[in-house]
């Protein structure tokens, strides 16, 4: 198959498509998977994000590429989550499946519990937790990406922490 001429250099930023895919596609995929709990849908979201990158050719500031990719990914996840068909039929009983390395199987119980707890958070909490704790963005950056006030981001983070602590404590007690 032949690809469109110059497709690997389409995004107007300092990195080529190959570099952007290599550096950030897995992060986009995992954030989408955390959000939706479904591998096929997470791959579809990742595909949509990078197709949009190639077809729309946005002007990406150096160092802001990942923020743009994750912002588009979260918007797409939110759209899918709001779709009643997706919620009822596909994600009716989402089971958060782990994909550990072969030598880690059997020693991940605690870690799997944390991942599952994050997956069970409501979307608005899940977004800030993933961006802050998983992707390492600052509160200000998250506020900019999600279009909400910094205070709202901090408040959601605080409430998400409380919920996670309760959940994890409950699991520990059992």
């Amino acid at each position: 198959m032949t690809f469109p001429a110059g497709s690997a250099d389409r995004p107007s930023c300092s990195l080529s498509f190959d570099e952007l895919y290599q550096n950030y596609a897995t992060d986009v995929l995992r954030v989408a998977y955390y959000y939706l709990g479904n591998r096929e849908l997470a791959e579809d979201v990742t595909q949509d994000v990078f197709v949009k990158l190639l077809t729309n050719c946005p002007s990406l500031e150096a160092g802001r590429e990942k923020a743009w990719l994750l912002k588009v990914a979260l918007n797409r996840c939110r759209d899918l989550w709001r779709s009643s068909w997706i919620k009822k039929v596909v994600l009716g009983h989402p089971g958060f499946e782990c994909f550990p390395a072969p030598d880690m199987i059997g020693s991940l119980a605690d870690q799997q519990t944390l991942s599952e707890a994050v997956n069970r958070l409501k979307p608005e909490f899940k977004e800030v937790v993933l961006l802050f704790y998983y992707q390492g963005f600052s509160v200000a950056e998250i506020a900019d990406m999600l279009g909400i006030a910094e205070g709202t981001v901090s408040s959601r983070l605080s409430r998400a922490r409380e919920k996670l602590q309760k959940e994890l404590k409950g699991d520990e007690d059992q």
């Binding site: 197709v51 994909f99 550990p100 390395a101 998983y134």
Partner: protein, 183 residues
């Protein structure tokens, strides 16, 4: 117990096998390629259609600028002029005026025909100098007044002494002209 602060490390372990691999990259490039093909086709069709429309418009403008006025076929018929053009034949005699010296014949059908250049110029000067626009008049006359210019152009009026009716449907009162031509 793992803490939320460890989410990055925990995710790297729990989702270790969930990676964006080459097959997903291939899917993305394939989708981009398939989306761009119809877009290219659409652009080509749009440009072709626009060029066609512009060409048709250019032909119409060219045609309208080369059309000659349609001559009236008989008494009482009005002159029909096509749009555009630069010749004096496109103008109404009284509206735009003309050079009396260019008239080579004046014929009031059934009454008189003048071909003498001097007499023609004199009659034409009387016509263009004394005719007055009239609000009303009888257009039931059966005579035709035909003025021929040296370039072949003809001006045809329906005549009903002392009125003339031009191709624009205008009525002109010019008793001096009728007196002169009948002398």
């Amino acid at each position: 117990m793992n803490r939320i602060e460890d989410l990055r490390r925990v995710t790297d372990n729990t989702l270790h096998g969930l990676i964006a691999d080459d097959s997903l990259k291939f899917r993305i490039l394939q989708k981009v390629s398939s989306e761009q093909e119809p877009r290219r086709r659409f652009t080509f069709r749009t440009v072709t259609a626009l060029c066609g429309a512009l060409a048709a418009l250019a032909v119409m403008v060219l045609a309208l600028n080369t059309l000659q006025p349609v001559r009236p076929g008989g008494p009482g018929e009005i002159n029909v002029f096509a749009a555009g053009g630069t010749g004096s034949e496109n103008a109404s005699l009284f509206r735009d005026g003309f050079d009396p010296g260019s008239v080579v014949s004046v014929e009031l059908e059934g009454s008189s025909a003048v071909t003498d250049a001097e007499k023609c110029a004199s009659l034409a000067a009387v016509l263009s100098g004394t005719a007055e626009n009239a609000d009303s008049g009888e257009s039931s006359g059966q005579e035709r007044l035909v003025l021929k210019l040296s370039d072949g152009t003809e001006f045809i009026f329906t005549a009903a002494d002392p009125y003339l009716f031009d191709g624009d449907g205008q009525c002109w009162y010019c008793p001096e002209f009728f007196s002169s031509i009948k002398e």
